[in-house]
């Protein structure tokens, strides 16, 4: 750990430039988000003077279902993650443990639409599970569409996330505790109550809050797996209101409800300690002395095996069905190439914007740091610069999109400005992640070089070229990869603004799924999945070695 140095390390001009550019970026963000929220509020005020009832039964039922599925998804995900994390932490040395931990990271990096396709292949009408159930004597197949499917998909995404966070928490237990426990002859239950549960419990509110937030704002999975009005969440209902029913009033009300929900959740999340951080989980962990009993072993490995199967099956299925797609024909379609190029272009531009905004905010926070000890305004400025990146969480992409949709609907050709809107939304969406990559890297970098460079009088462009770029290049590229993967896999913004003129890979995939061209869909999903995973793996590897480097 480098001790923070509180002196003035930047020149007067650099401080001013840093703060002014930070303020400009924040103003830009405030305007773009504010405009959307303002448009929603203004439209709502306009509607409420009308005669139609604002809160229809439909809106209530959608809201109720949104909360219901999020609650159930969170409970099941966490409920499974606790024993899984415990089993993984207890069994320190089994073949494939490293791969299992990597497998747990895969769903987060997978575009939801790809995962949904894989899940349908396994759990759907024609899937393995239904074949097995019918072979076992069930009369009719179980449908994946509806609440069950949404829950399976949310557990698929969030259970591994929660398990990883909890495993990293368990690996923070001091080695002496395990030794004490084994010397005192504590049984499994006592070890759980004395050591494992207290260590996990302190993290559970934050982990559950995060999972709940992700389930409330999940769009793609519900769009693909939800079934009709009975199983629709607010975000999907907004999309349907805007794209199919041309009912802006309903969209506005729903968007405002969603805004209230996320604001409330974000408030609670902040109060319980923000988002949980993950320590590197692959490092050398404490030696454990778990029970040698057959039952304990059977339970642990059984659970690990089942979870691995649950996560692997859809991935394998995507690979198999993807590989059997007719790539020759697929790659001969101009629209496929157009989608690939559009996706890459949007992702690259959005990532560049996102990283630039993040860098400006991080720099502004740093520049204002020494001033914050003397001036309240500098403290407030630093706080709002860090708040700016989480402001994005407050306004989910669909809500943001709905706001602009309403704002522009009578003023401009929405589909002409669509690419810009999609790029902006994708850039903002990635902002919390890019800031999280850049901020620690920048802090370490400055701690290492700031005093030396100011002592040597290196400044301006020289400093950027000789010191900052070589030192930060790696983090910039990682943040870019992260942002690109997120943008490539995004279906939220493009679902609202996509058209025959603006087609991305996920959008094309959605169209092919909608027209039951499953073979095409499988091929596209494979391409999209591989590109995103490669980007995510690159980002993840770099993040870990970057952290290790930061400790030097």
């Amino acid at each position: 750990m480098t001790k923070p140095f509180h002196g003035q390390l930047l020149g007067r001009r650099q401080v001013r430039a840093g703060i002014i550019s930070g303020a400009a970026v924040m103003a830009g963000m405030a305007v773009s988000i504010g405009a959307a929220v303002y448009a929603l509020l203004a439209a709502a005020a306009e509607f409420s003077s009308g005669t139609d009832p604002v809160f229809t039964a439909y809106i209530w039922s959608v809201t109720r279902f949104t909360l219901l599925q999020a609650c159930l998804s969170t409970i099941i995900s966490i409920g499974l993650a606790i024993p899984l994390a415990r089993a993984i932490a207890r069994r320190q040395a089994f073949a494939g443990r490293k791969w299992l931990l990597r497998l747990l990271a895969v769903p987060i990096g997978l575009p939801p639409i790809v995962a949904a396709l894989g899940l349908i292949e396994i759990w759907g009408r024609q899937g393995i599970v239904n074949h097995a159930l019918i072979a076992l004597g069930m009369d009719s197949p179980v449908s994946i569409y509806g609440l069950a499917g949404i829950l399976i998909a949310h557990v698929f995404f969030n259970m591994p996330l929660a398990a990883r966070l909890l495993v990293s928490q368990l690996e923070r237990v001091p080695a002496e505790h395990w030794r004490n426990a084994s010397q005192l002859g504590l049984g499994q239950w006592a070890v759980f109550r004395l050591i494992e549960w207290p260590f996990m419990r302190s993290h559970l509110p934050a982990v559950s809050g995060l999972v709940f937030m992700l389930c409330i704002t999940s769009f793609t999975l519900v769009l693909l797996l939800g079934g009709g009005p009975a199983a629709t969440t607010i975000e999907v209902a907004i999309y349907q209101a805007l794209r199919f029913d041309f009912d802006p009033q309903r969209a506005v009300i729903l968007a405002l409800i969603q805004l209230l929900l996320t604001a409330f959740l974000l408030l609670i999340l902040t109060m319980i300690g923000g988002s949980p951080d993950e320590q590197a989980t692959l490092g050398q962990a404490a030696k454990r002395y778990p029970g040698r009993g057959v039952a304990a072993r059977f339970f642990d490995y059984g659970l690990i095996g089942l979870c691995a199967l649950f996560l692997l099956a859809p991935l394998v299925s995507i690979a198999i069905s993807g590989l059997s797609a007719d790539f020759v024909r697929l790659l001969n379609e101009p629209v496929v190439w157009r989608a690939i190029f559009t996706s890459l272009a949007i992702a690259a531009i959005a990532a560049l914007i996102s990283v630039s905004i993040a860098a400006t905010l991080v720099r502004a926070r740093y520049a204002a740091m020494p001033l914050a000890y003397d001036y309240p305004w500098a403290r407030a400025f630093r706080l709002s610069a860090s708040g700016a990146s989480s402001l994005v969480l407050l306004v989910p992409p669909i809500v943001l999109g709905a706001g602009w949709f309403v704002l522009l609907r009578n003023r401009a050709d929405i589909f002409a400005v669509a690419p810009f809107i999609v790029i902006t939304i994708n850039a903002m969406m990635a902002l919390p992640f890019t800031v999280r990559v850049l901020e620690p890297a920048h802090t370490t970098h400055m701690a290492r070089t700031a005093r030396l460079s100011s002592a040597l009088g290196i400044g301006g462009l020289d400093r950027l070229r000789l010191i900052d770029w070589p030192g930060m290049r790696r983090s910039f590229l990682l943040a870019m990869a992260f942002a690109m993967a997120l943008s490539l896999g995004d279906l939220g913004a493009i679902a609202l603004f996509g058209s025959q003129e603006l087609i991305t890979l996920p959008y094309l995939l959605l169209q092919r799924m909608g027209s039951y061209r499953t073979n095409d869909a499988a091929g596209l999903a494979l391409i999209l999945g591989i590109v995103c995973l490669v980007l995510m793996i690159f980002a993840d590897q770099g993040r870990k070695s970057g952290e290790a480097g930061a400790q030097l």
Partner: protein, 239 residues
């Protein structure tokens, strides 16, 4: 509570690139200090006795019993670490009572045993305190109180006072010496301070480069000239 002889008979193990050989015999009720340079294998030595490390060959005897393959819980051994000896969310009394039986509630008889043990380490009335409210020295006293109620034949101390100041360390050493004299446990403690060894041990074991180079009576041990590496470790070699 009576100590048992502790014998490590040609114990060998390889950890990474380090090969270690431990060969030592301690009498019942001995008070042995393990000294030696960093990386000499002092902690590994204790871990082998406690069962946290398994030797590749050789035997570990406590009393007349071969405990080489036994689980840590099945050995008549208590161990006090340098830190993290207590569960921070449990009271002092429960932390000590865990040494009697691994349950979260203590009966009246147990409560009296715990109170006695706490009194013996100078912590009367500390039963309901939480570990977080104690000083470093007090926390180590609680850990020692737990070792007392466990009534095991061998007590292992892995630099338990290294983080304490000189005055506190001296007090703790005197306390340990007194308790050891009362209980006659066989005690083995690792220390970085040869003067600690001289102060309370009757036997000294000198480790160097993963080997037990020599062991013997504490009296005059540090002045011995026949122990390879000892003078070097003590900083007494001539330039």
């Amino acid at each position: 509570m009576i100590g048992q002889p502790l014998v490590l008979d040609a114990v060998r193990l390889v950890r990474g690139s380090h090969a270690m050989t431990f060969d030592v015999a301690l009498d019942a009720g001995a008070s042995a200090a393990v000294i030696g340079p960093s990386g000499a294998g002092k902690s590994t030595f204790l871990n082998v006795v406690a069962g946290f490390e398994q030797p590749d060959s050789g035997r570990v005897w406590i009393g007349g019993t071969d405990v080489t393959g036994a689980d840590p819980a099945d050995r008549p051994v208590s161990m006090v670490f340098q830190e993290n000896n207590l569960f921070s969310h449990l009271t002092v009394a429960i932390n000590v009572a865990l040494g009697i039986r691994p349950r979260l509630s203590a009966g009246p008889a147990d409560r009296e045993t715990v109170a006695n043990a706490l009194a013996r380490v100078g912590l009367q009335g500390f039963e309901d305190r939480m570990p977080g409210t104690l000083s470093g020295g007090e926390r180590q006293r609680v850990a020692i109180a737990r070792a007392i109620v466990r009534r095991k034949a061998v007590l292992l101390l892995d630099e338990p006072f290294a983080a304490l100041g000189p005055r506190l360390r001296r007090d703790m050493l005197l306390l340990i010496k007194k308790l050891q004299a009362e209980t006659r446990m066989t005690m083995v403690f690792v220390t970085h301070q040869p003067e600690d060894a001289a102060r309370i041990a009757d036997t000294i074991v000198f480790l160097d480069d993963g080997r037990t180079v020599a062991s013997g009576k504490a009296e005059g041990f540090l002045d011995r000239r026949d122990v390879a590496g000892l003078a070097d470790y003590l900083g007494e070699t001539e330039y």
